[in-house]
C-alpha cells in the first residue's frame, strides 16, 4: 500500500521535472571543477546541453545556490563553438518562482534547434567562502579552512551525468564529505560520476583542508584617474588591505619569523602588482612617507611593482597604502575634433586572484569637458558628479564617481568615457600665468615710477631738482664744446678755400650760439644757487674755463686769418697753432673733470 504514495511522489517529481524543463533542456554531461587552491572558490562547469523539447530554444538558465549568492563575485558563460572561438554570452538576472537562489538567463548566440546539442562553459567566482577553521592560529600553526558547497551542479535542468573535481591548495585534508566514494589523489578529490540528478539538487559538500595561500582582501580601494590634455594621465590607487585568513593568536616573534621558514606560513610578506607597460614615476607610499621596501621592475609588456608592506601581514592585520603612476595620454585618449574618448581599465591588477570588497572609481576630466557619457563593461553604481580643483583651475574639473562591491580579477576590463572638449580651453591656464605675471610686473613698474608718498620730502625734492638742472647743464656745456669743434672745421675749410665771408659768417653764428648757451648756463647756475647747491660754484668754474677756451678759439681763428693774409709764415703758424691746441686740450680736460664731478 506504499506503492501508490511512491508512485504519486515519482509522478510529482516527474511533473516538476517536466515543468522546469518545459523547454526540454537537459544537461547531458557536466564536468564541474571546484578550484579551492587560492582564497577564492572558482567553480567552472562544462555543460553539454541538449534540447530534447520540440521547439528551438533561445536561452537557458544558470542557477546559483542560495548560500553562495552573497559571495558571488563573477559569473560568466561562454559557448564552445567548433571553430574554437569562445563567445562570451550575455547574462540577465531572472527569478524562478518557488525556487531559492539566483538565476541568470543566458542568451544564446543562435537558437538551439530541437534535438541539437551545445557545449557551454560556465565560470563562477566566489569570494570569502573559505572560512578559516580554527579562526585563530598561532604563528607556528598552519591555516586550515572549510569550504561548504554543493556536490551537484545547481541547475534548473535534469542532469544525466556529472563529475565534480575539487582542487585543493595542499595535500593535507582534515576531512571531506564522502558522497559516492570519491577518490583523493594529492590535491585533487574526484566526485562522481553522478547519474540522473534531479533539477535543483543540493547536497552539502564540506571540505576542511590546509590552505596557506595569502588570504588578502582589499577592503576598499579608491582609484583616481586624472586626465590632462597636456599629455598625461595620472593614476592613483588608495588601498586598504587586510589579511582575512585565520587571525594571529598570541605573540608575533620576529626571531621565529626570521629563523624558521615555515613560521607564519600563511602571512603575506609581499605581492606583485602589474602596472601598464608605459607607467612612469611610480610611487608607493602611505600617510607617513615612502614605503622603502618595494622594488620596481620594468618588463617589456608591463611594469611590475613588488609591493612589500612595511610589515608582514598576519591574519587579521591590515595596512593602507597609496600607489600611483603616470601614463602617457596618447595610449588611452582618443580624439576626433572636439570629441574625446578615454579608454582605461576601470579597475586594475593589484595582486593575483585579487578580491576587492569595495571599489570607488573617480575619473577627473579636464576643466571644461562637456557631454560626458560613460560606457561601463558591467553594471556599476554611479554617484553624482563632483568638482575637483587643482593647479590653476577656475571653475573646476568634472569628476565622475562610481562604486561597486565584490570584484575579482574578471572585472579588470575597460571603461570608455566620451566627452566633448573645446581645445581653446587648453590655452586658459598658460594665459592665466602670463596674465598674473603681467599684472605683477605692471604693478612693480607703476610702484617704482610713481610717487606714492603722502608727505613731501623737501631735501629729496631739491636733490632731484638739482640733478635735473645739472643734467641740463651737462648737455649745454657739451653742446658748447661741440660749437668749438664746428668752428675748427670752419677754420680748416677757410684755410683751403680762403673764403673770408664764410669765415665771418661762421664766426658770427659761433658768437650768437655761444652767447645763447652761456646765458642759458648762467641762468641754470643761478637756479642752482637758488636751490642752495654747492654745484653752482663748479658751474661758474666751468664758465670761467669756457671763457678761456672761447678766447683760444678766437685766437686760432685770427691766426688762421693772418696766415691766409700772408702775415705769418706757415712754420710760425703751425707752431702757434700747436701751443693753442695744447692749451685748449688742457682746458677742455679740466672742464670734463669738472663735469664728471657734477
Amino acid at each position: 500500500n506504499e506503492s501508490p504514495l511512491l508512485a504519486t511522489c515519482l509522478l510529482l517529481v516527474a511533473a516538476l521535472n517536466l515543468e522546469v524543463s518545459a523547454n526540454g533542456l537537459v544537461n547531458e554531461e557536466v564536468k564541474r571543477t571546484v578550484d579551492l587552491s587560492t582564497h577564492l572558490a572558482k567553480i567552472t562547469a562544462e555543460i553539454v546541453l541538449s534540447n530534447q523539447g520540440h521547439s528551438a530554444v533561445q536561452s537557458f538558465i544558470l542557477a546559483v545556490e542560495e548560500d553562495l549568492t552573497p559571495h558571488l563575485a563573477y559569473i560568466g558563460a561562454s559557448v564552445k563553438g567548433d571553430e574554437e572561438e569562445d563567445g562570451t554570452l550575455e547574462l540577465q538576472q531572472t527569478t524562478i518562482p518557488g525556487q531559492s537562489g539566483h538565476f541568470y538567463k543566458v542568451q544564446l548566440p543562435s537558437s538551439l534547434a530541437a534535438g541539437a546539442q551545445l557545449k557551454a562553459k560556465v565560470e563562477m567566482t566566489f569570494s570569502h567562502v573559505l572560512r578559516p577553521f580554527p579562526t585563530h592560529v598561532t604563528q607556528a600553526e598552519r591555516q586550515l579552512v572549510v569550504f561548504q558547497g554543493n556536490h551537484y551542479l545547481y541547475s534548473p535542468y535534469p542532469t544525466r551525468s556529472q563529475t565534480t573535481r575539487v582542487r585543493l591548495a595542499s595535500k593535507t585534508v582534515e576531512s571531506y564529505t564522502k558522497l559516492g566514494n570519491p577518490s583523493k589523489n594529492d590535491e585533487i578529490i574526484e566526485y562522481g560520476p553522478f547519474r540522473d540528478v534531479a533539477p535543483f539538487s543540493e547536497d552539502t559538500m564540506k571540505i576542511h583542508y590546509e590552505n596557506n595561500t595569502p588570504f588578502l582582501t582589499i577592503s576598499s580601494i579608491t582609484r583616481t584617474i586624472e586626465v590632462s590634455h597636456w599629455g598625461n594621465i595620472a593614476v592613483e590607487e588608495t588601498i586598504d588591505l587586510r589579511h582575512t585568513g585565520a587571525v594571529l593568536k598570541g605573540p608575533f616573534s620576529r626571531y621565529d619569523y626570521q629563523r624558521q621558514s615555515d613560521s607564519g606560513i600563511s602571512s603575506v610578506k609581499s605581492f606583485k602588482t602589474i602596472l601598464p607597460a608605459s607607467a612612469q614615476d611610480v610611487y608607493y607610499r602611505d600617510e607617513i612617507g615612502n614605503i622603502s621596501t618595494s622594488h620596481l621592475q620594468v618588463l617589456d609588456d608591463s611594469v611590475e611593482v613588488e609591493v612589500r608592506p612595511r610589515f608582514p601581514l598576519f591574519g587579521g592585520w591590515k595596512t593602507h597604502y597609496i600607489i600611483g603612476y603616470n601614463l602617457p595620454s596618447y595610449e588611452y585618449l582618443y580624439t576626433l575634433g572636439d570629441q574625446y574618448a578615454l579608454k582605461m581599465r576601470l579597475v586594475d591588477h593589484v595582486y593575483d586572484d585579487q578580491v576587492i570588497d569595495f571599489l570607488t572609481v573617480k575619473i577627473i576630466l579636464p576643466e571644461g569637458a562637456r557631454n560626458i557619457h560613460v560606457d561601463t563593461p558591467y553594471k556599476i553604481d554611479r554617484m553624482p558628479n563632483q568638482l575637483h580643483y587643482t593647479y590653476l583651475d577656475t571653475f573646476g574639473r568634472p569628476v565622475l564617481v562610481a562604486t561597486k562591491n565584490n570584484l575579482v580579477e574578471h572585472h579588470i576590463q575597460d571603461v570608455v568615457v566620451h566627452y566633448n572638449f573645446n581645445k581653446i580651453l587648453m590655452l586658459q591656464e598658460p594665459l592665466l600665468v602670463v596674465g598674473a605675471f603681467y599684472i605683477l610686473f605692471f604693478t612693480v613698474i607703476i610702484y617704482v615710477r610713481l610717487d606714492f608718498a603722502i608727505t613731501k620730502d623737501p631735501a629729496a625734492e631739491v636733490r632731484m631738482k638739482v640733478a635735473s638742472i645739472t643734467e641740463q647743464v651737462l648737455t649745454l656745456v657739451n653742446k658748447r664744446l661741440g660749437l668749438y669743434r664746428h668752428m675748427d672745421e670752419v677754420v680748416n675749410r677757410y684755410k683751403q678755400s680762403r673764403d673770408t665771408g664764410a669765415l665771418n659768417s661762421g664766426r658770427k653764428t659761433l658768437e650768437a650760439d655761444h652767447r645763447a648757451l652761456t646765458n642759458e648756463i648762467s641762468s641754470l647756475q643761478a637756479r642752482l644757487k637758488a636751490e642752495g647747491s654747492d654745484l653752482a660754484d663748479k658751474v661758474s668754474d666751468v664758465q670761467k674755463l669756457d671763457g678761456q677756451v672761447k678766447e683760444l678759439v678766437c685766437r686760432s681763428c685770427q691766426e688762421a686769418e693772418r696766415l691766409v693774409a700772408g702775415k705769418v709764415k706757415k712754420e710760425a703758424y703751425i707752431e702757434s697753432e700747436k701751443t693753442l691746441t695744447g692749451k685748449r686740450q688742457e682746458l677742455v680736460s679740466r672742464i670734463d673733470s669738472l663735469l664728471d664731478a657734477l
Partner: protein
C-alpha cells in the same frame, strides 16, 4: 646718491642667488631620502599644523590633546608658540585658495629652506644698515650656507628655530632702522616683527633684553637722542602689548624677571628724557648736574640688578642651563651641553676667526647701530658658549661681522682701478700690487674653503632625517633601515584606536605623529613626575612594572633596541637617565647604584648587576635575543650585543605579564603588549578554595596577608562572589 642700474641689478642677482643657494643646499635630505618630517619635535609641530589646517584656527587654539600625557592630556593651544603652525597653515591656505593643491606635509618640509632665503634677505638689510651694501651681500651669502644655521633649517626640520632666525634678524633690522630714523613707522614695523618672533620662538627673550641693553649703553655713552627716545618708547609699549597676545606668553612680560630689564630701561629713559627737558628750562646748572648724576647712578644700579636677575632668570626659565644641575631631564638632552671649540669651528668655520676683526672694525668706527651689533655679538657669544643649541643665535651676528671684516679687507686690498689711477703720487701706503693680489687670493681661498666646508657639513652631518636610517654596503649600494616607520605604522594599523603606548619620552611625538596613538610622556617634558613614573616602570622588575603599567592603563610598551644592527642611540644606552629621573622622584624604590656593578660599571653582560639584568627594560630589549647569532659565521656567541660589544648576561628571559606584539625587521623597535589582568593564574587557583570561607571570615584574611596582596584578594573575592 642713487645707484646706477647695473649695480642694483648686480645686488639683486647676488641676493637672489644667495637665497637660491640657501634653499637648495638644504635639500640634501629630500633628494637622498624623501619629503619627510625629521627628528622628534618637528613631528609634533607637523601634527599640530595638520590639526590647524583640518580644524581651523580657533579649534587649534582651544585644542586639548587627549592623546598626549595620558591620563593628563595637554592643552596644546595654550602651551605652544603658534607662529610656526600658523605660518605653515597660512601658506597652505593661500596656496589652496589659489587652487595650488599642495599637501600640508610638503609645506611643512619646505618651510625652513624658504625662510632661510628670507633670513638671507633680512641679514643683507641689517648688514647694509650697519656697514654698506657690499658687506650686506657677503653677509647674505654667509648666512645662506653657514652650517650653524643649516643645522636647524634643513628641509624637513620643521621647527620653531627655522622661522625664528628670520624674525630675529628682521626685528633687529627694523630696530636699527628705527633708531637711525627715529620714525614711528619703522618702530611699529619693528614691533610687528617682534610680535611674530614672540609667536614663533621662546628665544624672543633675547630680543627683549638686547634692545634695552642697547638703549642703556647708548645712554651711558652719552649718545641719547630724540630718535632713541621715540624708538624705544614706542617699541616697549607696543611690543609689550603685542607680545601679551600670545596665549603661551600671556602676562609673563610684566611678571617674570627676564622681562624686567626692558621695563627698567623704559623707566630710566623716561627719567633721562625728563631731565633733558628740565635741563633746557632750569638755570641752576650745578644743582642740576648733581641731580642728574645721582638719579642716573641710582637708575643704573637698579638696571644692573635687574640685568643680573634677568640673566639668572634666563638660565632657569628659558635657556635651561642652570637647571641641569637639578633636573636630570634637561641634562639628558645632548643639545643642552656646553659648546666645544670643535663645534664652533664645525658650525662656523673661518667665520669664527674673522668675526672679531669685524667687531673691531665696528667698534673703531662706532655709531648708534654699531653699538647694537657689538652688544649683539658679545651676548650671543656668551650664550653660545653656555649651550650648544644657542649656537643658532650666534650664527647670524658672526656672519654679519665676518662680512664686515671681509668687505673692509677687500675694499682695501682689491682697490678700485679708477681710484688707484687718480692719486698716483701717493704710493698706496707702501702696498705693492703683488701684496694686494696675494692677500686677495688668500682671502678668496678662505672663502672657497668655507663654501666647501659648508657643503660637506650640510651633506654629512645635518641632512639625515633620523627617522629613516641608511647604511652603505661595500659596493656603495644603500640599504634603508625603515624600522621606525615600520613599527609606528604597525601600531597605527593594527592596534585599537585608543590604545595607550608607553615609551621613553623621546619617542612620544613620533608615536603621536606617525602611529596616531595615545602616549604617556612626550618630548614636551612639562611633567617630570610623570616621566619619572615611566622611568620607574622601565627600571623596575616585571611585576612591579606591571603594577605601574596597570595603574596607567598601558596597552603597549615600545622600546628602541639597537643591539642587532649596532645603533647606539637606543634605550639601553639611555637607560641610566631613566634610572636617574626615576630616582629623583622615587628615591626609595629606585637607586642608581643598584644598576652598576660593584666596580661601578654599567654592564649588560654576566657581570652586570642583577637588578639591571632583571629590570623591565633589559628584559624587553633582550627578549629572545639570547638565541640570536648576530654576526653570522663570526666567532661571536649567540646573544652578542653589537652596540655594547658584549654577550648579554641574561639569556633566559620569560614574561609573565607581557607578550611580544611586534618587532621590526632589524629589531630596532620592539613593541610588547601588556596582558590583561585575567591572565594571573596562580593567585586565582589558590584563592578558589578561600572564597567560600571568605564570606564568614571576611576581614581577617586580608589582615593576615597585608599590603598589595590583600588588595588583590579583596578584589578577587568580588569577582567570584
Amino acid at each position: 646718491m642713487k645707484q646706477p642700474g647695473w649695480q642694483s641689478l648686480l645686488s639683486f642677482s647676488i641676493l637672489f642667488l644667495a637665497c637660491l643657494a640657501g634653499f637648495s643646499s638644504r635639500l640634501f635630505a629630500v633628494i637622498r631620502f624623501e619629503s619627510i618630517i625629521h627628528e622628534f619635535d618637528p613631528w609634533f609641530n607637523y601634527r599640530s599644523t595638520h590639526h590647524l589646517t583640518t580644524n581651523g584656527f580657533y579649534e587649534f587654539l582651544n585644542w586639548f590633546d587627549e592623546r598626549a600625557w595620558y591620563p593628563l592630556g595637554r592643552i596644546v593651544g595654550g602651551t605652544v608658540y603658534p607662529g610656526l603652525m600658523v605660518t605653515a597653515g597660512l601658506i597652505h591656505y593661500v596656496l589652496n585658495l589659489l587652487h595650488i593643491t599642495v599637501h600640508i606635509r610638503d609645506v611643512c618640509v619646505f618651510l625652513a629652506p624658504v625662510f632661510s632665503g628670507l633670513t638671507a634677505i633680512s641679514t643683507f638689510l641689517l648688514t647694509r644698515e650697519l656697514w654698506n651694501q657690499g658687506a650686506g651681500l657677503l653677509a647674505a651669502c654667509f648666512i645662506a650656507i653657514v652650517p650653524g644655521y643649516i643645522s636647524r633649517s634643513v628641509a624637513g626640520s620643521f621647527d620653531n628655530e627655522g622661522i625664528a632666525i628670520f624674525a630675529l634678524q628682521f626685528t633687529y633690522y627694523l630696530w636699527v632702522k628705527s633708531v637711525k630714523t627715529g620714525s614711528v613707522f619703522w618702530t611699529i614695523g619693528c614691533c610687528l616683527s617682534y610680535f611674530y618672533m614672540v609667536s614663533a620662538w621662546g628665544g624672543y627673550v633675547f630680543i627683549i633684553n638686547l634692545i634695552p641693553l642697547h638703549v642703556f649703553v647708548l645712554l651711558l655713552m652719552q649718545r641719547y637722542s630724540r630718535r632713541v627716545y621715540i624708538a624705544y618708547s614706542t617699541f616697549y609699549i607696543v611690543g609689550l602689548v603685542l607680545s601679551m597676545q600670545i596665549p603661551f606668553v600671556g602676562f609673563q612680560p610684566i611678571r617674570t624677571s627676564e622681562h624686567m630689564a626692558a621695563a627698567g630701561v623704559f623707566a630710566l629713559l623716561q627719567a633721562y628724557a625728563f631731565l633733558q627737558y628740565l635741563k633746557d628750562r632750569l638755570t641752576r646748572q650745578e644743582f642740576q648736574t648733581l641731580f642728574f648724576l645721582g638719579v642716573s647712578l641710582a637708575a643704573g644700579m637698579v638696571f644692573l640688578t635687574v640685568i643680573y636677575l634677568t640673566y639668572t632668570g634666563l638660565y632657569v626659565r628659558l635657556l635651561t642651563c642652570y637647571a641641569k644641575i637639578h633636573i636630570p631631564i634637561i641634562a639628558s638632552v645632548s643639545e643642552h651641553q656646553p659648546t666645544t671649540w670643535v663645534s664652533f669651528f664645525f658650525d662656523l668655520h673661518i667665520l669664527v676667526c674673522t668675526f672679531p676683526a669685524g667687531l673691531w672694525f665696528c667698534i673703531k668706527n662706532i655709531n648708534d647701530e654699531r653699538v647694537f651689533v657689538a652688544l649683539y655679538a658679545i651676548s650671543a657669544v656668551y650664550f653660545a658658549g653656555v649651550m650648544v643649541r644657542l649656537m643658532l643665535t650666534l650664527t647670524p651676528v658672526v656672519c654679519m661681522l665676518s662680512a664686515v671684516a671681509f668687505s673692509s679687507v677687500f675694499e682695501h686690498y682689491m682697490g678700485d682701478d679708477t681710484k688707484r689711477e687718480k692719486p698716483p703720487e701717493k704710493a698706496e701706503e707702501g702696498l705693492g700690487p703683488n701684496i694686494k693680489s696675494i692677500v686677495t687670493m688668500l682671502m678668496l681661498m678662505l672663502l672657497m674653503m668655507f663654501a666647501v666646508h659648508c657643503t660637506w657639513v650640510t651633506s654629512n652631518a645635518y641632512s639625515s632625517p633620523s627617522v629613516v636610517l641608511a647604511s652603505y654596503n661595500h659596493d656603495g649600494t644603500r640599504n634603508i633601515l625603515d624600522d621606525f616607520r615600520e613599527a609606528y605604522y604597525w601600531l597605527r594599523q593594527n592596534t585599537d584606536e585608543h590604545a595607550r603606548v608607553m615609551s621613553w619620552w623621546d619617542y612620544g611625538y613620533q608615536i603621536a605623529g606617525m602611529a596616531n596613538r595615545t602616549t604617556l610622556v612626550d618630548n614636551n617634558t612639562w611633567n617630570n613626575s610623570h616621566i619619572a613614573l615611566v622611568g620607574k616602570a622601565m627600571s623596575s622588575n616585571e611585576s612591579a612594572a606591571y603594577q605601574i603599567m596597570r595603574s596607567l592603563d598601558v596597552d603597549y610598551v615600545l622600546i628602541i633596541f639597537g643591539g642587532v644592527i649596532g645603533y647606539s642611540g637606543d634605550d639601553i644606552n639611555k637607560f641610566l637617565w631613566m634610572v636617574r629621573i626615576a630616582e629623583g622622584e622615587h628615591p626609595k624604590d629606585i637607586r642608581e647604584s643598584d644598576y652598576f656593578t660593584p666596580q661601578g660599571e654599567f654592564r649588560v653582560d654576566k657581570a652586570g648587576s642583577p637588578t639591571l639584568l632583571n629590570c623591565l627594560m633589559y628584559k624587553m630589549s633582550y627578549y629572545r635575543f639570547g638565541e640570536m647569532q648576530v654576526r653570522r659565521g663570526a666567532l661571536t656567541p649567540p646573544g652578542f650585543d653589537r652596540t655594547r660589544n658584549a654577550e648579554i648576561g641574561n639569556k633566559d628571559i620569560k614574561f609573565k605579564h607581557l607578550e611580544e606584539a611586534f618587532t621590526s625587521e632589524h629589531w630596532l623597535v620592539r613593541i610588547y603588549k601588556v596582558k590583561k589582568l585575567d591572565n594571573r593564574e596562580p593567585l586565582d587557583h589558590k584563592l578558589r578554595s578561600v572564597v567560600p570561607k571568605q564570606k564568614y571570615t571576611s576581614k581577617k584574611v586580608p589582615l593576615m596577608l597585608g599590603g598589595e596582596f590583600a588588595l588583590q584578594v579583596w578584589r578577587d573575592s568580588f569577582r567570584f562572589s
